[in-house]
């Protein structure tokens, strides 16, 4: 379908639904009328119920003991979910007061067969166990509704996790303290202003720093003024979706622009953006375009693909496109043969498995026992040990880690965000394996892998985060972090020696910054 025809699609649907079928909102449906009708109906039901109850009381001179009131659902939806008694009894051990099953999402843990292996239940209420108190419970159950594990959240923050059918066997998750990034009097870790525009994507490759803003892109050259160039598409696109420069050959870059249809077209440059050429794939569904060492990576039409030149793309995951799609992925920065993907079923709502290949896609194996969080990872990163970190934006952001040597997932406690700060988090990783977590509210936290400690970096001065997490959020090398906010972007430089962990001289910093192309 062409773009013009896609535009007509909406108009034709409007004609068909309106004039053909006569589907219009009726004045009688106004809530004020509906409410009065409902009140009248409720009165009738109430009177009828009273009558029936009176009859029952008169007719049955005994009472039936009701089961303990857990699992009863108030404010029922159109088809409330009922839990089996066995499961309700277990939940009752940790629940206080009434609770409501808020959602029930199928879990597809088997690949390539896309059949549900269980469900993830999200239950709201008040939960208390082993000193942890929470407001919602996420439960993983198998197809026989037997509990496989769970997690308790308090206002979106995980506070307790357990595996198996015994909730008491779990552990509490305490929010760690974060200390400010260290600095010395003569050398400060600090923010450097990038610009006062909201950037869309960012990619640092050698001396090239590719940045996009709306339908403009720029290569931030050290020592020169900013210049912005329109999308190479003709006619120009309304939005440049993403840009990535190849670290191994920084003059090579791929740019994708997004059309109103949601599809993207790609362009390739081999001379740092002086000229661009269409990538020859036509329009495609593209997301999460990145470049690592010698390869571009992207989720292309639902599956993971890589390319060395931006023109020829190789899919490494033999997905059945009717069943699965890749939600996000992570590549070992030292070995592109090691890749992890998070899948979700295409046929509806649900959670899929996390798979890993260690041979460039020849074989894939499930990374098992993903915690019961109730949502798929939105971002994954991998370090050179093959350890995976994943950010899951459930009711609140949750970070989990898979340690390859231990072959198990665990929750990585993250510093508590202010209660007022809701929304999505962001996750990135430095080359040395440190994690960068962008919290709702705008603060950035850095997890130091060697010491298992969190450092906090306040949002850049003068930039309004609007209560949102930094996006894009990206690590450049080991010492720099780029963060975008609605009112502009900035980069943070940490003058810490990789080898000794000590602060390095200021002259060395400026030299490094200039080499990375970020110095103004």
């Amino acid at each position: 379908m062409s773009y013009d025809r896609e535009k007509q699609l909406g108009e034709l649907l409007d004609q068909a639904l309106g004039e053909k079928l006569g589907l219009y909102f009726q004045p009688a449906w106004h809530p004020s009328h509906a409410l009065s009708r409902r009140r009248t109906r409720n009165w009738r039901i109430a009177l009828g119920t009273v009558g029936v109850a009176a009859a029952i009381v008169l007719a049955l001179p005994f009472t039936v003991q009701l089961p303990h009131g857990h699992g009863a659902v108030s404010n029922r939806t159109l088809s409330a979910i009922h839990l089996p008694k066995r499961l309700t009894r277990i939940i009752a051990q940790v629940s206080q007061g009434p609770m409501t099953v808020a959602s029930m999402v199928p879990v597809y843990a088997s690949y390539p067969l896309a059949r549900p292996t269980g469900h993830n239940l999200s239950i709201t209420g008040t939960f208390h166990i082993n000193g942890a108190t929470g407001t919602s419970l996420s439960l993983l159950v198998n197809n026989h509704m037997q509990m496989q594990g769970g997690m308790i959240f308090h206002n979106g923050r995980p506070v307790y996790v357990f595996t198996g059918s015994n909730p008491h066997s779990g552990t509490a998750i305490n929010a760690p303290n974060a200390t400010p990034v260290q600095s010395e009097d003569h050398v400060k870790a600090q923010w450097y202003p990038g610009g006062n525009v909201a950037i869309g994507t960012f990619s640092a490759a050698g001396s090239h720093v590719y940045v996009t803003h709306g339908n403009l892109w720029s290569d931030m050259i050290p020592g020169s003024n900013d210049y912005w160039i329109q999308s190479p598409a003709s006619p120009p696109a309304t939005t440049i979706d993403s840009i990535a420069g190849l670290p191994a050959d920084p003059a090579d870059a791929v740019l994708t622009e997004e059309s109103p249809s949601g599809l993207s077209r790609g362009f390739v440059t081999t001379n740092g953006g002086i000229t661009w050429q269409g990538w020859g794939l036509g329009s495609a569904s593209v997301s999460t375009l990145i470049a690592i060492n010698h390869r571009f990576w992207a989720i292309l039409n639902g599956t993971l693909a890589w390319s060395t030149n931006g023109f020829a793309w190789n899919s490494i995951l033999p997905l059945n496109p009717k069943n699965w799609q890749v939600e996000t992925y992570a590549v070992d920065p030292a070995n592109p043969e090691i890749v992890a993907v998070s899948l979700i079923p295409i046929s509806g709502d649900g959670l899929g498995p996390v798979l890993e290949t260690r041979n460039g896609g020849k074989t894939w194996a499930e990374v098992p026992h993903f915690p019961a969080i109730g949502a798929a990872p939105t971002t994954m990163v991998m370090n050179t040990n093959g350890d995976i970190a994943a950010l899951i934006n459930a009711d609140g952001p949750v970070v989990v880690r898979y340690v390859a040597s231990q072959q198990r997932w665990s929750v990585l406690p993250i510093p508590a965000a202010p209660i007022s700060a809701g929304g999505l988090g962001q996750l990135a990783a430095s080359a040395n394996g440190n994690l960068i977590y962008g919290a709702p509210g705008g603060a950035i936290y850095q997890w130091i892998a060697n010491t298992d400690q969190w450092l906090v970096i306040k949002p850049p001065p003068g930039l309004d985060s609007a209560g949102l997490a930094a996006n894009p959020l990206q690590a450049v090398g080991n010492n720099q972090i780029l963060a975008g906010y609605p009112s502009g972007w900035a980069y943070f430089y940490e003058p810490v020696s990789e080898s000794t962990g000590t602060v390095v001289a200021k002259s060395a910093i400026q030299s490094d910054v200039t080499r990375a192309g970020l110095q103004q």
Partner: protein, 173 residues
């Protein structure tokens, strides 16, 4: 809406004027059933009415409406799966009387093609093409990621292409 005043009532009515028709059409295309769609739309606006009473009418938004509608439709579809019935409304459309106006016939054929998509793709197509929601807004309404929306739209287009090809050709639209 508690504490109703004329100003708030007017704003709520304006909201209904703006989105009421689209809401019933979205629910209809999602559910394949006019009675179910009417129930769901009334329930959705009732919930928004109460929401406006608690939080203020200024907190109403199209995103909130379509998220509420999507949740209610999902509940109703779950109910339908337990109590399956024939989607007779679709037959009403496809076996109805001959159309006197050719463009109405075309639009009916387009709707018929859209109705053949699976529910997830239908919702995406409706929200994105018909409701003019952005990718982000569509993703929020459906509680999925933008990547999922992109892929569903991609697949919907793939499915619609052969269905709509004869219509586009015949009418040079």
């Amino acid at each position: 809406m508690p504490n109703t005043n004329a100003h708030d009532r007017k704003k709520f009515d304006d909201f209904i004027d703006q989105y009421g028709d689209k809401a019933i059409r979205y629910a209809y295309v999602t559910l394949h059933s006019r009675p179910d769609a009417e129930d769901v739309v009334q329930e959705a606006f009732l919930r928004l009415w109460r929401h406006a009473g608690r939080r203020g009418v200024d907190t109403l938004s199209a995103a909130l409406l379509f998220r509420t509608l999507t949740n209610l439709c999902r509940d109703r579809m779950r109910h339908q799966r337990r109590h399956p019935e024939d989607p007779t409304d679709l037959l009403e459309l496809t076996q109805g009387e001959e159309d006197e106006s050719p463009w109405i016939l075309d639009s009916g054929a387009v709707l018929e093609a859209v109705m053949q998509l699976n529910p997830q793709e239908r919702q995406c197509v409706l929200l994105f093409y018909y409701m003019d929601r952005s990718l982000k807004e569509t993703a929020e309404a459906l509680r999925v990621s933008e990547q999922v929306v992109k892929t569903r739209l991609y697949r919907a287009r793939q499915h619609l292409k052969p269905l709509l090809q004869p219509i586009w050709k015949e009418n040079s639209l």
